[in-house]
Amino acid sequence: MPHIKTVSNKKGFSLTEILLAILIFAITVTPLIQLFIQSTREAESASDYYQAHHLLTIEMEKLKSLSSLYPDVFKKSFPQKSKYTKTSGKYSCVVTINPEFEMKVASAYDGSTLEVMLTEIAAEASWTMTSGRTQKLVYNTTLD
């Protein structure tokens, strides 16, 4: 029975082979899993940034429109440096309006200082990712 002998000689070879295969698989797949996790985090971060960008843009454009279309209402609403907060889901938006920002310029005529009052707006969104890391996005602009 030469064929039975041959089969017996191969006893245990499959196990070694499988263990080796598992080792190779583990070595290959471990960095792939890390890459996959990294991709998932990147995708989550990008999605979060886009959501935050959307929320901040709404706030910024609302203020710009109010300032442009109804300057009196804007001045009455924000007579001095003020701040308001909005929360949407995991995003917390803090909008700071400073209508008393002074910029100075020297006159070429007599060297006297000219002052210009501007309205500065800073909108900041902050949120916590599932990894526990806190992220933030800030938009700044100037209104007339």
Binding site: M1, P2, H3, I4, T6, V7, K10, F13, S14, E17, I18, L20, A21, I22, I24, F25, T28, V29, L32, L35, F36, Q38, S39, T40, E42, A43, S45, A46, S47, Y49, Y50, A52, H53, T57, M60, S68, M103, K104, V105, A106, S107, A108, Y109, L114, E115, V116, L118, A122, L137, V138, Y139, N140, T141, T142, L143, D144
Partner: protein
């Protein structure tokens, strides 16, 4: 089929090393899929971040534009005043840069009437052509350009007004030029 002992032996020999090529092939397949996924995700994330950066750059450019326009208003549209001012150096064609927020803006002011009057034509500064403002805001790799024309009107002068679309019936024109 022949199920004799020799035939079995031949079959077993054929299976030698089968699982290693299989696992290597599988790992290679997974590596390609994961790499493709990673490249796709990274590109998507990059695009989103660029979109956000571009919006940030736009607000920075607008800030530069508003500040420049405010100074033009403060100097009563007299180009000779803002020709040599210290902070903002306006004039016939002047340029000003400043860090703003996390980015930077650059404003170029082109005073067409001043240029015309310089050639001997009696025009009040800014009266007809207005002042052209060319602002760029940059944040990281994103840059946003805004071109505006400011024409003063009679009575109380608004510091700055603009529309986002070009309209020949309006005094103020504004548009964005997006690069990249």
């Amino acid at each position: 089929m022949d199920f004799s002992g020799d035939a079995k032996l031949v079959k077993l020999n054929n299976k030698k090393g089968f699982s290693i090529p299989l696992v290597v092939s599988l790992a290679l397949f997974l590596a390609i899929i994961t790499y493709a996924l990673q490249v796709f995700t990274a590109q998507s994330a990059k695009n989103i971040h660029y979109t956000v950066d571009l919006k940030k750059a736009e607000y920075i450019a607008e800030a530069g534009l508003k500040r420049a326009a405010s100074f033009i208003g403060a100097t009563a549209f007299e180009s000779r005043i803002y020709k040599n001012v210290a902070s903002f150096s306006f004039g016939y064609t002047n340029n000003y840069s400043e860090n703003y927020g996390d980015g930077k803006y650059n404003v170029t002011i082109v005073d067409i009437p001043a240029i015309i009057s310089n050639f001997g034509i009696d025009l009040r500064p800014c009266e007809y052509q207005g002042v052209f403002l060319w602002a760029s805001g940059s944040y990281r790799n994103a840059t946003r350009f805004i071109l505006a024309r400011y024409i003063p009107s009679a009575g109380t002068l608004p510091i700055f007004k603009y529309k986002k679309t070009i309209n020949s019936n309006e005094e103020y024109e504004y548009f964005n030029i997006e690069i990249n």
